[in-house]
């Protein structure tokens, strides 16, 4: 398998992880440390420590020791300038006396200093860079199982097989390239790994998630699992795993010992050396000094693997490690030894993070000298080394030295911890926050025990009294890409979407909907030209607009009118079948929530339209009042079932006459009437309403026939100069009529009286939502009012511009456009009551200057509404 590392081609053996392949090829430095840029080599080789983090295929901070090599992979070192071997910033370690613990808090005491230094600090100190242009894909997934086993070591595999044999569905999660745990590299433990693995892979009841880290255990036994490289086109998949029962078999991990120079390249945990040797057939070194308390078996395995053990020394006998860059020897109280590898046999710490996250208790056991689970929440079991079955820690000596690193993630030494405690941060949680120990990529796996040890020693408390820091998800860290998931946002398309494309629609997003803003109908025409043409078509001939995005509710049942009377401000029980009425909905405080139309199609049947964005809310609002009332009414959301288009303009009747037998004369089909009929043989509902202020019909037909009907309307209207018009022209047309758009011209404080919609409120009907406060609003004239205005200059203010009275902001513009009918800029604005009368003058702020405008209370176009009724 070939891959590139820092642009050079390397060859890996099948099954190698990236770090194993690089080590096999002679690479010894894998990263530079976070703060001092000290060279770092492989330490844990199990995905716990930060030493092997690299950029893989554009994804930063990938743990290369557990990431299998793929053909063509691009691997790059990170946080090293210019290279891993020679990093200029490593000079910083000579000035560590300038950067004591709490350096940030002590140095950057004002904001200016911090802002000046921050960019440089961010560049120099840190982990990998994020490249927003990365094209790697991420996925989400959901799984459900009866038993989830976390950890694929001997105990985890036994538990999974046992549950599977009992007939349970099991998901086994393991963070390594292959399950097996210590069995894969410690030949003295639990023979028969291959047999167990074979059983696992062939069991029908077991789903194996390998190369996957469980980063969190949440309420209700929801587990967060990050699957790396689930398939070739995806970098990571975040799986939401829900289990009836969780078995925590996360085992125990080996931790480093504390001695001066304990972070040198060539110092490795014994488990890492054995992994390299037995899984990948790679010798970590030729001659080794073993530090700590090794079992006989480890020394024997090293020797049989061709690694000569020069000496075995205890941790507290180490004076210093020698060698520039890589280890060349070690000075101890027992003598000096030359070696190219130091093998650390450190304490093994039960991995109990998930237990703590689930609400369990982890407490110090004096008998086993380890933090062990003391209380488990229901449906969670802990087994194996995580439960402390074979763990017996010997707490190592804890020398105080600037070069004895407790936290290798953030370069925190034992001296730094002692200084922090001396400054008063003596609680383990405050010490963590002050020094950042246990807060790096390893999340305490490499440093928690030593941190607790130093804290306990310096404060005179026991380990139990000192306690552990809190384990919180995600642990290990999760990439932002995995949390964000796939690049997908649902889009709502109307049934006429593709027809609009043919007319050159220029799209705009309205929530999830896509609507034509206007139609770019000829080359070289500006947006203003196109919108003006659409406007003129409607005012002078005929236009058609897609209004399928309107919310549509079918309400039927004997109590439907009563429900509508309760929720809307107007009266609907008295509405005659075949008639339409404008409908305004307010909350209990009399604040406008939504508007639309209500058509009575039969004695017990109504058709309600809502604004495009408020459909779900209105539906729920109606259901809420229905549930609490017990009325016999059924509400169905039929929004998607109808395509809707508004044919408007003086020639609209001429167009529609060619398509339907329905009598469209004003006598037979007056303004605010509705009919169910056929148009072009398509069943349709016609509503004679006029949002744009012209004679017009809103046609609702089954969505599957809408495109056919749209084309038929355009064909029939071609001789009358019909044009499709978009949202922008519609907004101009309605503005000339003073028609309000809820949410644009109103806000969270608007009541119908202030918005000149008092005619929609029937205070003389029985109780309805908001009646009490609307009755008060009807007599209270102290508020501001929504009025029309005509600008006295050509320049247009933006929507939202301030209205100024006596030099002070006193209101705001909600909508403004240039009106061809008025040949001036017109708009709607909120002004104080004192200014809300015909002919008063207000000032509107435009680009810092004030422009005069004249208030008008009647529509700018056809104030009597005769054109609507023609």
């Amino acid at each position: 398998v070939k891959f590139r590392f820092n642009k050079k081609v390397f060859v890996a053996q099948t099954g190698d992880t990236i770090a194993a392949a690089l080590y096999r090829n002679g690479q010894r430095i894998f990263s530079r440390s976070f703060k001092y840029h000290r060279p770092r080599g492989l330490l844990c080789f199990s995905g716990k420590c930060p030493n092997c983090l690299m950029n893989v295929d554009g994804v930063p901070n990938v743990r290369t020791c557990i990431t299998p090599v793929r053909e063509g992979m691009q691997v790059r070192a990170q946080n090293a300038y210019p290279s891993l071997g020679m990093d200029f910033f490593s000079i910083i370690q000579l000035f560590d006396w300038l950067m004591p613990v709490g350096w940030y808090y002590k140095t950057f005491t004002n904001r200016t200093m911090w802002h000046a230094a921050e960019p440089a600090i961010r560049k120099i100190a840190g982990l990998g860079e994020i490249f927003p242009s990365s094209t790697r894909e991420y996925e989400h997934g959901w799984m459900h199982t009866e038993t989830a086993v976390i950890g694929g070591g001997w105990a985890g595999m036994q538990a999974a097989l046992g549950c599977a044999e009992a007939g349970e569905q099991v998901v086994l999660v393991d963070d390594q390239a292959s399950p097996g745990g210590q069995m894969l590299y410690r030949k003295d433990l639990h023979q028969g790994a291959e047999g167990l693995l074979q059983q696992l892979r062939t069991s029908k009841n077991i789903r194996l998630l390998q190369n996957s880290s469980c980063f969190g255990l949440y309420e209700g036994n929801l587990l967060g699992v990050l699957q790396r490289d689930p398939h070739e086109s995806v970098a990571e998949r975040l799986v939401h795993l829900r289990a009836d029962h969780v078995v925590v078999a996360t085992g125990a991990y080996e931790t480093p010992l504390l001695f001066p120079g304990n972070d040198r390249v060539g110092i490795m945990l014994s488990s890492a050396v054995l992994r390299l040797l037995h899984i990948y057939g790679v010798q970590a070194g030729k001659s080794a000094v073993v530090v700590g308390e090794p079992s006989e078996s480890i020394s024997r395995q090293l020797e049989s693997g061709g690694i000569r053990v020069v000496a075995t020394v205890s941790g507290d006998s180490v004076i210093k490690v020698t060698g520039s860059g890589q280890v060349s020897g070690i000075q101890t109280h027992n003598g000096n030894f030359s070696c190219d590898l130091i093998v650390i046999c450190g304490p093994r710490v039960p991995d109990t993070g998930l237990i703590a996250q689930a609400g369990g208790k982890v407490e110090w056991s004096d008998t086993q000298n380890a933090f062990l689970p003391a209380f488990l929440p229901p449906n969670i079991t802990v087994i194996g080394d995580a439960a402390g079955e074979t763990v017996a820690n010997i707490i190592p000596s804890l020398p105080t030295s600037k070069r004895a690193f407790v936290c290798i993630c953030s370069d925190v030494s034992s001296t730094d911890l002692c200084d922090g405690i001396a400054e008063g941060f003596s609680h383990i949680e405050t010490l963590k926050r002050y020094t950042t120990a246990t807060m790096g990529p390893c999340q305490g796996r490499m440093c928690q025990l030593s941190t607790i040890g130093v804290c306990a020693r310096e404060t005179g408390r026991s380990f139990g009294q000192t306690g552990m820091t809190t384990s919180r998800p995600p642990n290990p860290g999760v990439t932002l890409g995995a949390l964000a998931g796939p690049r997908h946002h649902p889009i709502r398309r109307t049934p006429l979407h593709y027809a609009h494309n043919e007319h050159g629609a220029v799209w705009m997003d309205m929530g999830d909907w896509r609507r034509p803003r206007y139609y770019a109908n000829r080359m070289g025409a500006t947006e203003t030209d196109c919108i003006t043409q659409e406007y003129r078509a409607v005012r002078e001939a005929v236009g058609v607009i897609d209004v399928s995005t309107l919310g549509k509710l079918d309400i039927r049942g004997p109590d439907s009118g009563t429900l509508l009377d309760k929720v809307y401000t107007h009266r609907f029980t008295e509405l005659k079948p075949g008639r339409v009425r404008y409908a305004l909905m307010c909350d209990e405080g009399g604040i406008i929530l939504d508007d639309g139309t209500i058509s009575r199609l039969g004695e017990d049947r109504y058709f309600v339209t809502t604004t495009s964005g408020n459909l779900d809310f209105v539906h729920q609002w109606l259901e809420w009042y229905l549930i609490t009332s017990g009325w016999d009414t059924h509400i169905t959301d039929v929004t998607a079932g109808y395509g809707a288009m508004n044919v408007a303009g003086p020639k609209s009747r001429d167009v529609l006459r060619r398509m339907t037998d329905c009598d469209l004369s004003s006598t037979a089909f007056p303004y605010m009437a509705c009919r169910e009929t056929k148009v072009c043989d398509i069943p349709a509902m016609l509503l004679r309403i006029g949002f744009v202020g012209e004679t017009g019909w809103e046609i609702h037909c089954p969505a599957e026939s809408a495109e056919h009907l749209w084309r038929a309307i355009l064909d029939a209207g071609s001789e009358f100069g019909i044009r499709p018009f978009g949202v922008e022209a519609q907004r101009l047309l309605r503005l000339e009529k003073h028609h309000v758009i809820v949410g644009v011209d109103t806000d969270a404080l608007t009541n119908p009286y202030d918005a000149n919609l008092s005619w929609t409120v029937k205070l003389d009907k029985a109780d309805f939502v908001g009646k009490a406060l609307l009755a008060h609003a009807a007599t209270d004239h102290t508020h501001e009012h929504l009025v029309g205005f005509v600008l006295q200059a050509q320049e247009l203010p933006p929507d939202g511009a301030a209205v100024v009275v006596d030099g002070k902001p006193a209101g705001r513009v909600t909508s403004v456009r240039y009106s061809p009918a008025k040949k001036a800029g017109v708009g709607l604005a909120w002004v104080p009551t004192s200014q809300a009368h015909e002919g008063s003058t207000i000032d509107v702020r435009v680009n810092g200057a004030l422009i005069k405008a004249t208030v008008t209370l009647t529509p700018f176009y056809d104030p009597e509404g005769t054109r609507l009724r023609q």
Partner: protein, 186 residues
Amino acid sequence: MKSSALFRLHQRAGAQFCEHQGWNMPAAFTSPELEERHVRQHCGLSDLSYRAKFDSQIQPAELGWRLAEKHYLMIGDEPIDPPRGGIDVTSVYANLFLAGPQSQAVLEKLTSLNIFDARFPNLSCAQASLAHVHAIVLHEDIGSIPGFHVLVTREYAESVWEVMFHAGHEFHLQAFGLLALECLRH
């Protein structure tokens, strides 16, 4: 003829169309035999939006799916005898039919709904978020082949269809037409 919300996508995929119950539906995308074999081996996605659907508070005599205490969805091929007071929602929902042994694996990437047999056996139904869209999921196997109807409101149909194909890529998800469905049923 009536057009499904997915008509344009089928056209782009090179579907051969046929009239089916007044709708212009894809008969096949490649060959019915290949499509049938593919669904039996992997998984396939078909557009059955032509099927009649009625929303009702009363339990229908047949073809009914109980969505809630007093909420039923009747769905089937025409002619259909709707329940009293039932509201025709044929136009409201697009009906995407996912079938094949890998169909559960595809759905696992799209919804938090537990769609495995123990909790969601054949002829079960549920409402859930699927590909970030509210969906009605009906479990209706074709013999021994797992099958799931995904009903989403028509305006989301294209979006969901595309996301399902994206999620199904690793499971070799392919579109299949009405002719292959007919073969699978017999």
